[in-house]
């Protein structure tokens, strides 16, 4: 193994993980945007014309049909998961679950890995602001791109309005982000829907990550809401009522809220 201090190895590791993020690499960017129609992807990534590049993508498990997607269990699929996890890890937003037993009931408790950035700063001797933040880098790129496409004002107002309104609650179905935020943005409904899908929520994009309650009495799910560009700023919590009047409550809360505010300020 190459020589070097523990600090050097840690810095190399964090830099390598950052260089695998979509703000630094088109391969990661392309994989993060799948599944997607090949014609759409080819428009954004003309590199797909290079046959050798396509062959390498295939060897990593990318299926290049009419729709481009990652094969189940492939390296490409594992890399997209790594990108998501590293976004959360280096932004102090990493969620994990701990099994706890209360009497005869097994419960899973959702927690957040805290102090990751400050611990890495201690270990590397770097100032905490010098620890890379791939999520922040990606958020700035996405906001810049959408500002060019839809106008800076609309995108800024949309994101600021969303962040200021969270948490958002709905009964029996999740609240509509477009309805809640749209009035203040002033864009036409079609544009609003598009911005929403790119930045906040895409149809069928909720990933259940946690079942609330216990092994005997589940009371709902917590999901990360995925959007086209995977800033994924919402956590959706579903709670089922008990008793005669059965209903379900849905609450959206913010993920990466502080970082998104910072990204908006820096892009402005």
């Amino acid at each position: 193994m190459s020589e070097g201090s523990l600090k050097d190895h840690l810095i190399n590791l964090v830099n390598a993980l950052t260089n695998l993020s979509p703000s630094r690499n088109i391969i990661s960017q392309l994989l993060l945007l799948t599944p997607e129609e090949q014609t759409t992807l080819s428009h954004s990534f003309p590199e797909l014309e290079i046959s050798e590049f396509r062959e390498i993508l295939r060897a990593m498990g990318v299926l290049l049909g009419d729709k481009v997607k990652c094969a189940e269990g492939s390296f490409a699929e594992a890399l997209t998961r790594l990108i998501h996890k590293t976004f959360d890890w280096l932004d102090d937003e990493y969620l994990y679950f701990e099994l706890t037993i209360y009497g005869s009931v097994i419960m899973e408790i959702m927690k957040k890995m805290e102090d990751v950035r400050s611990s890495l700063a201690k270990l590397t001797g770097l100032h905490i602001d010098l620890i890379p933040n791939p999520y922040l880098e990606w958020a700035k790129l996405v906001i810049e791109k959408l500002s060019r496409d839809y106008g800076k004002d609309k995108v800024m107002r949309f994101m600021k309005s969303l962040l200021s309104k969270l948490p958002l609650r709905g009964r029996d179905r999740p609240p509509s982000i477009v309805d809640e935020v749209g009035v203040e943005v002033g864009a036409n409904p079609l544009e609003l829907k598009e911005i929403c899908e790119l930045l906040v929520y895409s149809e069928g994009g909720a990933e259940n990550i946690y079942r609330k309650g216990s092994s005997k009495h589940p009371t709902g799910y917590v999901s990360i809401v995925h959007c086209k560009y995977h800033l994924d700023p919402l956590l959706l919590e579903e709670s089922r009522s008990e008793g005669y009047y059965y209903y379900v409550t849905y609450v959206y809360t913010a993920r990466h809220g502080e970082t998104l505010r910072r990204a908006l300020e820096e892009v402005m």
Binding site: M1, S2, G4, S5, L6, H9, L10, N12, L13, N15, A16, L17, N19, L20, R24, N25, I26, I27, S28, P46, E47, E49, I50, E52, F53, E55, I56, A59, M60, F75, A78, L79, R81, L82, K85, W89, Y94, Y96, F97, E98, M113, E114, D115, V116, S119, L120, K122, L123
Partner: protein, 209 residues
């Protein structure tokens, strides 16, 4: 146009491959620590204190590592399930499998001939080489290499069979196989010790020892 795109693709691919290679346990002390703990499930504190003193000995470093990666430092050291260290160690396994895939290696090496004139390295083989080299610096390294060669020769062996065939005392055989298990070079099943899959694939590396 096509030539300019190809230059850009090569630059992107080269950076991408460099980043993946930097994660390999043969090249990074931190991922080596995480990966060894992952493949063993857990490792005795005293063993890792000796093998990775920079990480384990100092209380402040240990605490910061525990918080950053999700590692439990008790009598046994293990990666806490579902935390980032556990996830990353799982991903490293995927990297090793990709970098031994002949199709990926040949296609990427052919596009990056100038950047990697010797070809892109097989990281799984490199990791095995590092572990085999590492054995010789250990207290029971000599015995471990003898035991390892014997297990590879016969395919599967029990402790008492190794004692007999190598003329070693039981204590030395046990220390040797513990070291081999720690490095992920042999696995134990109900019928004895068998070589790891890597070792079966790259058996020729043993000849140099």
């Amino acid at each position: 146009m096509a030539e300019r795109l190809k230059v850009e693709v090569k630059k992107q691919l080269s950076n991408f491959i460099e980043a993946l290679m930097a994660l390999a346990p043969s090249r990074n002390y931190v991922t080596q620590f995480l990966y060894l703990v992952k493949i063993n499930g857990s490792i005795d504190y005293r063993i890792l204190e000796e093998a990775y003193p920079d990480i384990v000995k100092d209380e402040h470093v240990r605490d910061a590592f525990a918080k950053a990666f999700g590692i439990s430092f008790k009598d046994k050291i293990y990666l806490e399930p579902g935390k980032y260290g556990d996830f990353l160690a799982g991903f490293i396994d995927k990297v090793l499998r990709l970098f031994e895939d002949p199709e990926f290696l040949s296609k990427a090496s052919s596009l990056l001939k100038e950047e990697y004139p010797q070809g892109i390295p097989n990281l799984a083989q490199e990791w095995l080489e590092v572990r085999l080299e590492g054995l010789s610096s250990q207290a029971y390294g000599g015995s471990a290499i003898k035991v390892l060669k014997e297990i590879v020769r016969v395919g599967r062996a029990k402790t008492e069979e190794l004692e007999r065939s190598l003329g070693m005392c039981r204590g030395d055989v046990i220390e040797a196989v513990n070291l081999l298990k720690l490095y992920g070079l042999v696995k134990e099943d109900p019928y004895g010790f068998v070589p790891s899959e890597d070792l079966r694939k790259y058996q020729k590396l043993l000849e140099g020892l």
